[in-house]
């Protein structure tokens, strides 16, 4: 008689821990230019290969190659570079502010700036964005004032959110930027609902939602893909696979056995797996999905493969769970460097101009942040009127909140 095999549990572990030498050779990639570009009305069943490959445009020499080259004007490329540099400079400045005690909390997007900046630029101004807390580049690319962003982080008297939200949980209706939730993933299906409403009204605007690799494990991810597919909602659903959810590597969200883009297959949606650090590839994939949505052809899932080069937040210490130099081994490079190299390769840029633009971005950020700091920072200067903390719970304040406001002494 054969003894039955004892069952064993697979516990996913990242390949490298602190002190070990990172090696990303197992990361599935394709050569730049290798992925094919199907027509926008292609059937999702005929493009499953795109969920497993990697859409890339920029090659190692900074040239744009292959069918996904969006052929952007140099001026637009320089604009994208400028927005990414502004985003990085803003992140660095606010990180320093947190270390100086001017705010309790900050979240950087270092290393993944191309995702938000290229996607914002690939969409129309009227399209509605449902971001996570790591897409500050969307606001910067939509030219939302950095001053407003800094006031929110400082929760000062000019904070449009009146000191109610954790730093970086921005909201900017005028910029088509939905209020950020700290409850992850909820915005994903809300984006689908907004897109359904736009279609219901015969509008022409589409929606885009973002989610991290980690929070694809939430039910909202499944809801979003289900509703997006069922009603062919005009929405772009973006998974920012930056490899890490705080200390959890993406294998804990099921990234070991299949790509996040391939989740689309089971829903009958097109899925595109894209080099998230390739400004041109991100632009092209987003344009493709937007065109599809505008043509009433429905939703697209895009996985943006990138790397969270910074800590999760100022409250996190990644050296405790991953090699501290892991970012240096990331095979898809740095999005700013890669776009810079491309502009130089096509003779539309120079190292000198880059140094100058970087300095200008830092100065722009510094001026805006100083202006915000002159009003107040956390615990110092002018803060929002605390009597307003009872407003906006409801459209009109009910008796019990009026009573509590009185009890508070207002």
């Amino acid at each position: 008689m054969v003894e039955p095999l004892p069952l064993s549990l697979h516990i996913p572990e990242p390949r490298f821990r602190p002190g070990e030498k990172p090696d990303f050779s197992a990361l599935r990639t394709s050569a730049p230019g290798e992925a094919r570009r199907p027509p926008i009305d292609a059937s999702p069943a005929e493009m499953r290969d795109l969920t497993d490959g990697l859409i890339r445009v920029l090659d190692a020499d900074g040239r744009a190659v292959g069918p996904w080259d969006p052929h952007l004007e140099p001026e637009r490329l320089r604009q994208g570079l400028r927005y990414m540099l502004l985003t990085r400079a803003y992140d660095e400045r606010m990180m320093r502010s947190q270390r100086q005690g001017k705010t309790s909390f900050y979240i950087k997007s270092t290393g993944e700036e191309a995702v938000a900046v290229a996607q914002a630029m690939a969409l129309d101004k009227g399209d509605m964005l449902f971001p996570t807390y790591r897409q500050q580049g969307l606001l910067i690319a939509r030219e939302w004032p950095i001053f407003e962003m800094a006031c929110q982080v400082y929760a000062n008297a000019a904070d449009r959110l009146k000191g109610r939200q954790l730093p970086v949980m921005y909201s900017a209706r005028e910029a088509g930027f939905f209020t950020i939730s700290g409850n992850l993933a909820t915005q994903f299906v809300q984006a689908v609902g907004w897109a359904m409403a736009s279609a219901y009204k015969g509008d022409t605007r589409i929606a885009a939602g973002w989610i991290g690799d980690g929070s694809t494990a939430e039910g909202d991810f499944h809801y979003a893909l289900t509703f997006g597919a069922v009603y062919r909602a005009p929405v772009i659903l973006n998974v920012v696979n930056n490899q890490w959810a705080i200390s959890s590597f993406n294998g804990l969200a099921g990234g070991e056995s299949a790509t996040f883009a391939s989740r689309a297959i089971g829903y009958g949606l097109p899925g595109l797996r894209v080099d998230g650090n390739d400004f041109l590839a991100v632009t092209a994939a987003t344009q493709w999905a937007a065109e599809r949505a505008r043509g009433n052809l429905g939703a697209t899932l895009i996985e943006l493969v990138t790397y969270r080069a910074a800590a999760h937040s100022t409250s996190d210490d990644p050296s405790k769970y991953r090699p501290s130099d892991e970012a240096n081994y990331w095979p898809l490079g740095d999005p700013i460097e890669r776009l810079k190299d491309h502009l130089i390769a096509i003779r539309q840029w120079s190292p000198e101009r880059h140094v100058q633009l970087t300095a200008e971005a830092e100065e722009t950020v510094l001026a805006a942040v100083k202006q915000a700091e002159a009003i107040g920072v956390l615990g110092q200067g002018r803060r929002p009127d605390p009597s307003t903390m009872f407003d906006d719970v409801y459209k009109q304040m009910p008796w019990h909140l009026r009573e509590q406001r009185r009890e508070m002494g207002f």
Binding site: T186, A197, S198, G219, D392
Partner: protein, 339 residues
């Protein structure tokens, strides 16, 4: 004036609002072609089309999340959650999202969402078709919680809820859809026909949110009730021969404190009844309010008659349900107590 049962009155409210406002749409499981498992949306898809009365996947979290996005766009979605027992997958979208959008965005974003859902027992639904989860919603700031007890109010409150710009949990006492129910389960079911509150006007009217109604005037004891328990309390008062004043709260948040205080100051006694489990139930909030605002008028301890702190047991429905006998006993005991 047409006589409608409670389900028909709700149908009429949605019919009126679909007809008046192109931004109103209905969505939920089985609500479209089929007309809903309790028939509340019967005929609406035929009249307004599949685009406006939308069948959805079996996905409460998805329905509410998508409806929230629609509300942010500018529509007025009316969601049906097939049973209140199924609302839990949507709880994050309700408690963390719908309830807080306006606050966290400082008024930039909001979703005028109405979530209708049948709740309560009395239909042999067992654990997953009988619950009364109102306290989970009344505890969430930013939500309003509404519970009608009759066809007239059901229509007027639902229209008021759909027109309101805040997210609303609209709990429908499912045992009352077809007729009033006083807890005497052993007798034949009664229909709404002939009941004065089944006279439901055609067209548009509202019953204001946040306003209670006195269903029976009395000077001996105040009974605070809502939903099915309004009818149970009325029967219990008659059967106990107690001079009870029965208040139908209609809206739990914001609650009509003035009506509660006026009554308890008059009677000096208060009995709170609800079907939901006792611990942490909405009755605890009511008891606290009465104690805070009416302490010196009280002549007896505030009493609660509620469902037991167990899951709703299928075969023991009538041991679980706080029927007229239990309510009557508590009324008598409260009347006999002297401070």
């Amino acid at each position: 004036m047409p006589q409608l049962n409670l389900a028909q009155a709700l149908n009429s409210a949605m019919d009126v609002m679909l007809g008046r406002d192109p931004d109103v749409l209905i969505l939920g499981e089985d609500v479209g072609y089929f007309g809903g498992v309790f028939r509340c949306t019967d005929g609406l898809q035929r009249k307004y089309g599949a685009r406006r009365v939308l069948d959805t996947p079996l996905s409460e979290g998805g329905i509410v999340g998508a409806a929230l996005g629609m509300g942010v766009y500018g529509l007025r979605p009316v969601v049906e959650i097939q049973f209140a027992d199924y609302a839990y997958p949507a709880f994050d979208q309700l408690a963390s999202e719908a309830a807080r959008l306006r606050y966290r965005s400082a008024g930039e974003f909001w979703a005028p969402l109405t979530v209708r859902t049948p709740y309560g027992g009395g239909i042999f639904g067992g654990q997953t078709h009988s619950q009364s989860p109102e306290a989970l919603f009344t505890h969430v700031c930013g939500l309003k919680t509404v519970v009608p007890s009759n066809p007239y109010d059901a229509k007027g409150l639902l229209i008021a809820a759909i027109e309101d710009d805040d997210p609303i949990i609209f709990l429908e006492p499912k045992r009352l859809y077809a007729g009033p129910f006083d807890g005497h389960h052993e007798g034949a079911a009664v229909s709404w026909a002939g009941h004065p509150l089944s006279e439901v006007p055609d067209g548009h009217y509202t019953v204001p949110l946040g306003k209670a109604a006195v269903r029976r005037e009395g000077r001996g004891v105040t009974v605070l009730a809502y939903g099915t328990m309004v009818h149970v309390a009325l029967a219990a008062a008659e059967e106990a021969g107690v001079d009870a004043e029965v208040i139908d709260l209609r809206t739990l948040v914001p609650v009509d404190l003035e009506a509660i205080v006026a009554s308890v100051e008059k009677t000096g006694r208060c009995v709170i009844v609800h079907e939901a489990t006792r611990t942490g139930g909405y009755g605890a909030e009511l008891a606290a309010l009465v104690q805070e605002h009416c302490f010196y008028a009280l002549e007896a301890p505030i009493a609660r008659v509620t469902g037991w702190d167990t899951p709703y047991p299928y075969a023991f429905e009538w041991e679980y349900f706080p029927g007229p006998k239990r309510v009557a006993e508590t009324l008598v005991r409260t009347m006999e107590t002297r401070a």
